[in-house]
Symmetry: D2
Subunit: 101 residues, 4 copies
Amino acid sequence: MLIEFSVVPLGTGPSVGDSVAKVLTIVKESGLPYKINPMGTVVEGQWNDLMKLVKKCHAAVLKDCERVLTNIKVDDRKGKTKRIDLKVKSVERRLGTTLRK
Amino acid sequence: MLIEFSVVPLGTGPSVGDSVAKVLTIVKESGLPYKINPMGTVVEGQWNDLMKLVKKCHAAVLKDCERVLTNIKVDDRKGKTKRIDLKVKSVERRLGTTLRK
Amino acid sequence: MLIEFSVVPLGTGPSVGDSVAKVLTIVKESGLPYKINPMGTVVEGQWNDLMKLVKKCHAAVLKDCERVLTNIKVDDRKGKTKRIDLKVKSVERRLGTTLRK
Amino acid sequence: MLIEFSVVPLGTGPSVGDSVAKVLTIVKESGLPYKINPMGTVVEGQWNDLMKLVKKCHAAVLKDCERVLTNIKVDDRKGKTKRIDLKVKSVERRLGTTLRK
């Protein structure tokens, strides 16, 4: 399954770059396939591995502030894997063009 | 911490009432404090209990369809509990009025 | 159609009660049917009215801080109205029980 | 400001590729800077232009089905532009490494 998630600290100023850097370090260390975009991080895997990863990121950001908002969007389709690459490719094939990533 | 979540089956028609009924049955059985609203269900608890609950709901809905989209929004504030009631009350107190729930 | 939305200021401390109070004041003044819950506000109406309302709330919160995150979830079903009340009632009817709101 | 959005038709089967193709065609025609990812589309612009675009996409998908769920996440930071490229670059600079996109 695919998830997209974001972790936002409240009460630490308008820049959340430190938190995002912390989160991406943890995501890379997980070894799971991921893709970063300007609004979140997409990761592919099994439910337990993915939620363990998000929990770790959430806890790391909460360590340095009082309140954290975390969003998780799950897209789970039976019998489909490698969707982190194939979903966008499938749209490009339909449109007969490449899209900006 | 508080979460709001929703579980949406794809490919089963425009009405998702069966899925929502299944989810709410599981939520009630969990014994965790919850509140339903027209767009999702809010539950209060600890990370592991909450994610176990959402996983169970997600799996129950996926049983009868091919694809499920689940959204989870986490609001985690250090040292605060009973926020499922207190957050709205605090807004009402500020405004000096009751709000529709 | 129904929307649920939330407006979060960044860089103003862990408590966002002032912003929520501002948002709810604007929502009430709009005259549109609404329901507040611990994680957001649900409003029913037409696209243009709803987005005008959210824009006004977003702008009001941005006035006092440097960065705002706003989430909007739209549920639009053809030929259906008064869903702000009917959706939850329909789940209760299916389950033969009342649910906490 | 940046938005990430997704438009999901209900009641048309588990594959929503036709809808995504429709949405991306409209996004490309808008001329606004965009980036697609496996879970949504990020676009940069002003509130009115962005919401007009999302409305058009939402309406196009609703034309062929009975119910549509649209999610919009707004990130608005005063005095900042070109964030569609700069946000990810800033994380890479902090980490001293390139990330998968």
